[in-house]
Symmetry: C2
Subunit: 142 residues, 2 copies
Amino acid sequence: MFSKACTYGIRGALYIASRSKAGEFTGVKEVASKLDIPQAFTSKILQTLVKSDIVTSVRGPNGGFKLNDEVSKTVLDVVLAIDGTDYFVGCALGLTECSSENPCPLHTEFVNIRSSLRNRLAAMSLSEARELLEEQHFRISG
Amino acid sequence: MFSKACTYGIRGALYIASRSKAGEFTGVKEVASKLDIPQAFTSKILQTLVKSDIVTSVRGPNGGFKLNDEVSKTVLDVVLAIDGTDYFVGCALGLTECSSENPCPLHTEFVNIRSSLRNRLAAMSLSEARELLEEQHFRISG
DNA sequence: ATAATAAAGGACAAATTAGTCCGGAATTAT
DNA sequence: ATAATTCCGGACTAATTTGTCCTTTATTAT
Ligand code: FES
Ligand code: FES
């Protein structure tokens, strides 16, 4: 479905969101150990999220990552930042063109699945996730 | 979404289905060239479909592959034969457990998407696809 | 029987993805 | 200033997926 880097990225973003209440920063070490993701790889992925303006980073002691609250980014933004539009664009059977004028036998199915998932990912903002993760019994580690 | 091998497999199966009207066999050369898939790779993938009883093969002159009509296999069977249950099983965010008792924040979304796709793939049988491909203007090549 | 044809299967090569290592740059505390 | 901390970024390695090549085996036609 998504690349491993992407699922790590989603979980990382959710974890950081859940910890960036005030101006608290979370270090890559903590993210990696809490979510059980290789630390150096986590670092690479968080760098991508910084470049995509999803999280903000500061270096040095007490530094780390925090959610970029300026704009409200969504889980979809994380997916697009890491995996690009791969999942959502083009024929899922690899045909050169994907359109309702020239569809593959599963075109309608794929269009529905994709837009459905896209909508739901876009509906889950990271700032909202912060509360959800506390109020509900959701899990992003283990 | 699916591996490349899997999309090749689906298209290959559909092409063979569309050509196995009587007892006609389709060679790997034809499948590969018509669908623009590397021939040796096509061969590998069709071998998998043979092992999974989705198509039948015979060697020698006029040999090739034909749909195994004994049982009515579906596109889902092709997916399961090549990619296994990867797409449908386990947490899409890589958590060790996937259940409604211990869900990740996107669990409900993923469950819906997956079952929806699974149902639609299971509903598309390869023998039916034969007619669909002729009657409708579907495309499995290019 | 022999030769031609076509799938089966194993070993290998290329490409992509996943993951590591380490030196450098920024920030903070002493 | 210095040292400690923490992210950045490039180069590297490992694993997986994708794809090739070539030999063997089964089948058919002559
Ligand atoms: S043509 Fe295949 S998904 Fe649109
Ligand atoms: S727990 Fe993540 S998809 Fe079910």
